[in-house]
């Protein structure tokens, strides 16, 4: 009963946090804070989806590809054909799934794993960004394009107030966390864990390696595609660099790895830290350091992977558990 994160107190703590998050917009009408927290929800959702596969050793450095595919398909269908993004996002996310299926099958079939998989995905993420830029006539190229504004029309995923986005993205985040739990209880989790540890051993006990890797890749891509739609609908502006380039493709794993991708709360905690820090830097230093974030991401990512593979939250938890255990042995 020493720890605040005790198993029995866990659900209570969770309910309190969730309650605070739900009530927050009611008591704090500051649109700025609501905006920041909404961003944290959206990117937490995306980095959680990324960690679905990242935690089993399938490190993708190209999730921007799925983010961009989902967002652009959905937004273009809306702008040109007036298709509601609520329906469009399923098509957009299916586009992301198609891309993941082709990419995954090609990689897993030919045994591209580990660092090589990361490199291939990095290239694909950039390829999607370049394709978006190349299709200038419809996508607006590097300049991006703005969603047609319909004012407040919930059926078209547009709202008069940010608060709606706050709750919607919170719901999506909760769904992603719920799915994480579901995966943890499934047979797939055991298979993927075995694959992540040793592919030859996993296949020699009868695990279908390609099928399981494909499955988790596709789930992750689908959710990420939806994440792109969430972000685009919220910001109402699409730009290839914020939705699919190298920058965002690295930013997603960075958030997850910083928080710790092996723990369900890790990606969200990492995201909260990064988004807050970025905001702080933006507010206090303005645009003086544009482009610095990429450099910092790169350096920090390497440092983290080498020294804190479990992430900040994961490492804190580990130290905490160790303390607890040694305290128990003493008493």
């Amino acid at each position: 009963m020493r720890s605040p994160l005790n198993i029995k107190r866990g659900p209570i703590l969770l309910t309190v946090i969730l309650g605070c998050l739900i009530l927050f917009p009611v008591f704090s009408p500051s649109p700025y804070l609501i905006h920041i927290i909404t961003l944290i929800f959206i990117w937490s959702y995306v980095s959680t989806a990324w960690s679905y596969m990242g935690r089993f050793g399938l490190v993708s450095l190209g999730h921007g590809a799925f983010l961009g595919t989902g967002a652009y398909i959905t937004a273009l269908l809306f702008n040109f054909f007036n298709l509601s993004p609520w329906i469009g996002m399923l098509i957009g996310a299916s586009g992301a799934v198609f891309l993941a299926a082709v990419l995954g099958y090609a990689c897993f079939r030919s045994g591209i794993i580990g660092d090589y998989f990361a490199l291939v995905t990095l290239a694909v993420g950039e390829l999607v960004a370049l394709s978006i830029i190349a299709m200038r006539e419809i996508t607006g190229g590097s300049l991006g394009f703005t969603l047609r504004s319909l004012g407040n029309s919930p059926l078209y995923f547009q709202f008069g107030s940010k608060v709606y986005f706050y709750y919607i993205s919170l719901l999506f985040l909760l769904f992603a966390l719920y799915l994480w739990k579901r995966i943890d209880k499934s047979k797939m989790q055991k298979a993927l864990k075995a694959i992540g540890e040793d592919e030859v051993a996993a296949s020699s006990v009868g695990i279908n390696i390609i099928r399981h890797k494909m499955a988790i890749f596709i789930i992750s891509a689908f959710l990420t595609g939806i994440g792109g739609v969430l972000y685009a609908q919220y910001i109402t502006y699409l730009n290839p660099h914020t939705l699919s380039g190298v920058t965002v493709s690295l930013a997603i794993p960075f958030k997850a790895i910083l928080g710790g991708m092996f723990n369900i709360w890790g990606p969200a905690i990492g995201t909260a830290m990064i988004v807050s820090l970025e905001e702080y830097i933006r507010v206090s230093y303005g645009t003086k350091f544009v482009g610095v974030s990429e450099v910092v991401y790169g350096i920090a990512l390497i440092t983290l992977i080498i020294f804190l593979p479990k992430g900040l939250y994961g490492t804190v938890l580990e130290i905490f558990h160790k303390r607890q255990r040694s305290a128990e042995t003493i008493t």
Partner: protein, 234 residues
């Protein structure tokens, strides 16, 4: 039970197996011996579907398997104990055994298989909550064999089970193999330690540079002057 007809295999341009034919009859223990680089491990890889043969056919219980995926071959009843055991070191002994029973059929018979294995290897029962990585060398090999039995195989293939072990422990590992042999499993084992392995053999094969040089009963091997000199040291 297992019939291999004229198998050739290569890593890229480099040919490792040259038209190998051999068979394992039901309930029999077949041993393939040979020096390093003879293609012994490759042979097992080809049978278990980890490597596609460039030529030849493999039949198991009359069914052709050389074009099947590894997980399907495991389902049909061939399981491989890879060299060094290849356990999942961060999983407990019990979780390693659970993963071994991955296929649907194996999961249904999980309890039965587990009882059988704890009967054969009681130490594993005592160690079931321990991490696999914390076991001793001999126990690890024992767990690797046990894990492969969890898939309810008919044929167990062992890749150099004695490699990297001290002589005393090596003897224990051969004792484990003898135990599963006495349970009626068919076994195909490849080994560098010919003398020890031949004691278990019903039928033996000699592989050299990817070619089958000699085959026969264990006593034919012991009588052959070349093998005596090169592999048995007598």
């Amino acid at each position: 039970m297992l019939e291999i007809e004229g198998i050739s295999a290569a890593y890229g341009e480099f040919r490792v197996l040259h038209e190998i034919s051999l068979g394992v009859r039901s309930g029999e223990t077949a041993i393939a011996v040979g020096p390093n680089g003879a293609g012994k491990t490759t042979l097992l890889k080809v049978i278990s579907g980890l490597l596609r043969p460039s030529l030849g056919k493999i039949y198991f219980d009359g069914q052709r398997i050389d074009d099947q995926e590894t997980h399907e071959i495991v389902k049909l009843g061939i399981s491989l104990v890879p060299e060094g055991g290849r356990l999942f070191p961060y999983l407990t002994v019990l979780d390693n055994l659970k993963i071994g029973a991955f296929s649907k059929k194996a999961r249904e018979e999980f309890r039965k298989a587990l009882d059988e294995i704890f009967g054969l290897f009681p130490i594993l029962k005592d160690r079931k909550k321990q991490l696999a990585g914390s076991l001793s060398g001999g126990e690890r090999q024992m767990l690797a064999i046990a894990r492969s039995l969890m898939s309810r195989p008919k044929l167990v293939m062992l890749d150099e089970p004695s490699s990297g072990l001290a002589p005393k422990i090596m003897a224990r590992v051969f004792e484990f193999v003898r135990r599963i042999k006495s349970q009626g499993y068919s076994i195909l084992m490849v080994e560098q330690n010919a003398r020890k392995a031949l004691e278990l053999a019903d039928h033996a094969y000699l592989l050299e540079s990817g070619r089958l040089q000699f085959h026969g009963g264990a006593e034919d091997f012991v009588k052959n002057p070349y093998i005596k000199k090169a592999y048995l040291g007598i």
